[in-house]
Amino acid sequence: MEQRSDTFLDNASEALKNVEQAKRRDIIATFAPLMRSAAIEGFDEFDTLRQHVKRVREHALDHLEYYLGQFEQQAVQNGNHVHFARNSDEFNSVVLDICQQHDARRVAKGKSMVTEETGLNSFLQRAGLEVMETDLGEYIIQRAGETPSHIVAPALHKSAGEIRALFQSTHDLGARDLPETVDLVAEAREVLREHFLKAEVGIIGANALVAENGYSMLVTNEGNGDLCANLPRVLIVCTTIDRVLPLAQDATAMLRLLVRSATGQAQTCYTSFYSGPRRDSDVDGPIETHFVLLDNKRSDILDSDYREMLECIRCGACLNHCPIYSSVGGHAYGWVYPGPMGSILTPLLTSLEQSHALPNACTSCGRCAEVCPADIPLPDLLRDLRHEENSRKLSAGRWRLGIKLHGWLARHPKLYQLSTAIAIHTLHLFGRKRGSYSSLPMASGWTSQRDFPAPQGKTFMQQYKARLKRLAEQRNEH
């Protein structure tokens, strides 16, 4: 997918000006956390389960090669083809090859952030295939020519009114005007059904790969994943190498955290395991099945200090609880993954050069880490990325210099106290009447939004030292 993370500040500024969308984001930011906490409240095992799943994930990543090998062996034994792709280009080519081998014209596609990452849709379309997204949210943004704004709810930024207008302009509706939300859903379902039946290839994602039996697991609320998997002749499961877990029970344990954290449900409507092609005794199912597993720098992350990021289960809770995400929305981040997890993944999967603004879009408020079911210390990783930004001199020179000067001064207490006393006294003189300044030459970032409260006068250290001196003199007099 094309990236515009380098203009994050401009993207954000534009997003803030869209009052309608901003209002909707505010509402979602109020309700999503309530739904999550309601789901967690009655679920006492949450914390123990979180620790358990974390250990399992750590173990799986520690032995990634082993478990990927086991998965591959089992999956092949079940009659699947397993492909590994080092990068997006390889990944897209593998998928296209499979489609072409089957003379496919149409692809029915379930929700998959990995294929967003590789830009699979446009790649297949350029090769002449018709690709139809079948998850309702994905379908809507595909029709609108947009990208997902949230990893779980891709069309979160769209109102029912906008969706209605979209269908009115792109569907052949005749006299129907789709007054209710259910009408919109029914309309999409009608269009999609047709496509499910005609598609030769189905593409879906996976929430986990199970090494012990070679299955993949997928949760959806719409059941579209199962239709993509079972109706077309060929099924391609697209995911990444870090999704592998040792046991089926690990996958279901993870699921209990995932769904509650993502949507506040105890369970999604559909939880499916995919084992392989149709057997003689099966009445339906694909005749050929493939797994395409993308690396795209994940093995580099495995060897880096950001390894914990691979434990992310893509629940979206950190987005829902991030005040910056809810202020600017997902598109401002300029790539596939937004919010706290995206601000870490984007630099790691693309480059820090293009995206170093993202790790700065954080106040270290810590709400994301508090809710993250994978227990990833997101603010720490974001700070570590800022450290890297700093070390590689990608941050603005005046900031680096400012911090350096401040650090130097703070290491020299006498000089620090003297110079701050002078600076504060001057500031106080100019601002004491009004109590604050509406503009300050050195702090335009601050004063563009708010007044700068004036200091009270002498610094505490000045006053305190004077007081100690007075006390000493009094003592001497006696």
């Binding site: 930004e389 911090i403 401040h406 109590g435 708010r450 006053q463």
Partner: protein
């Protein structure tokens, strides 16, 4: 009760507290530090102020300049090594010492950081949970204002400060806090964040301010000057009437000092 608590709970010996003033209180609002000293003394402590103190290193640390933050952390650790207790009128500075110094440092320095962390407390936690400050004999004479409280993020999530400030306002001043709808949400300060991403920060502080104004409170109290400067500054800019103060001032019944951002 840990060893140290037991050792200090003997009535003969007063708790020896080193005040970590914090750079914002030092430079912008000395009244907070003076109020903190009085409160600690009221709670029966003997307070000293180490004179070498400057800054805990948070600006450097949070900007990702660990190389500048390390010597500052070491300076603070050395300065406070002999203190029995360290108290800071800020959740974010106490959080820096308690959580981030050990993360930032390695080896022997990490050990020393952990020692310092074990005896460092945010002001309201220390007054309420450790020193058990007693309510004043007579009820406050001045009219009781209606007070909203802003929970700083580091206090909330690094130090689990939730009830202590509310308990103190209740016990010492007879004030029942008017709660915000979104207590858990950041005010948009974030140290250098507010200057690096002013527009987003402006939106966040507006949300916070709307929440505060909706409580109908006369006073906004908080435990972190960073947040309070941010909120007071935005209130001034928007012409919203709210008296913004550090909780130490309120607990010390000091409302004569002009509020944050107010003129004489």
């Amino acid at each position: 009760m840990n060893e140290r608590d037991r050792e200090h709970s003997s009535p003969q010996r007063r708790k020896q507290v080193a005040l970590f003033v914090t750079c914002l209180a030092d430079l912008f609002r000395p009244s907070v530090a003076f109020a903190s000293i009085k409160l600690l003394e009221r709670a029966g402590c003997e307070v000293s102020v180490p004179l070498q103190q400057t800054c805990c290193g948070q600006p450097a640390y949070n900007s990702g300049n660990y190389e500048e933050a390390v010597p500052l952390a070491q300076q603070v650790i050395t300065m406070l090594a002999d203190a029995d207790y360290v108290v800071a009128p800020s959740g974010s500075c106490a959080g820096m010492i308690c959580h981030h110094y050990p993360r930032l440092l390695e080896g022997e320095w990490r050990e020393r950081a952990l020692e310092l962390a074990a005896k460092t407390f945010e002001l309201t936690v220390f007054l309420n949970d450790i020193a058990h400050i007693k309510p004043p004999g007579k009820k406050p004479s001045a009219a009781i204002p209606s007070v909203a409280y802003h929970d700083g993020c580091a206090g909330l999530r690094e130090l689990d400060i939730r009830e202590q400030p509310r308990q103190l306002l209740r016990d010492l001043c007879g004030i029942e806090v008017s709660e915000l709808q979104q207590r858990e949400v950041c005010c948009g300060f974030g140290g250098t964040f507010c200057a690096k991403m002013p527009e987003i920060s402006g939106k966040m502080v507006d949300d916070k301010l709307n929440d505060i104004m909706a409580t109908g409170a006369d006073v906004l109290a908080g435990g972190d000057l960073g947040c309070l400067l941010n909120i007071a500054g935005r209130a001034r800019r928007q012409g919203k009437k709210i008296e913004v103060r550090h909780i130490a001032e309120l607990l010390q019944q000091d409302r004569d000092t002009p509020a944050i951002g107010e003129g004489k």
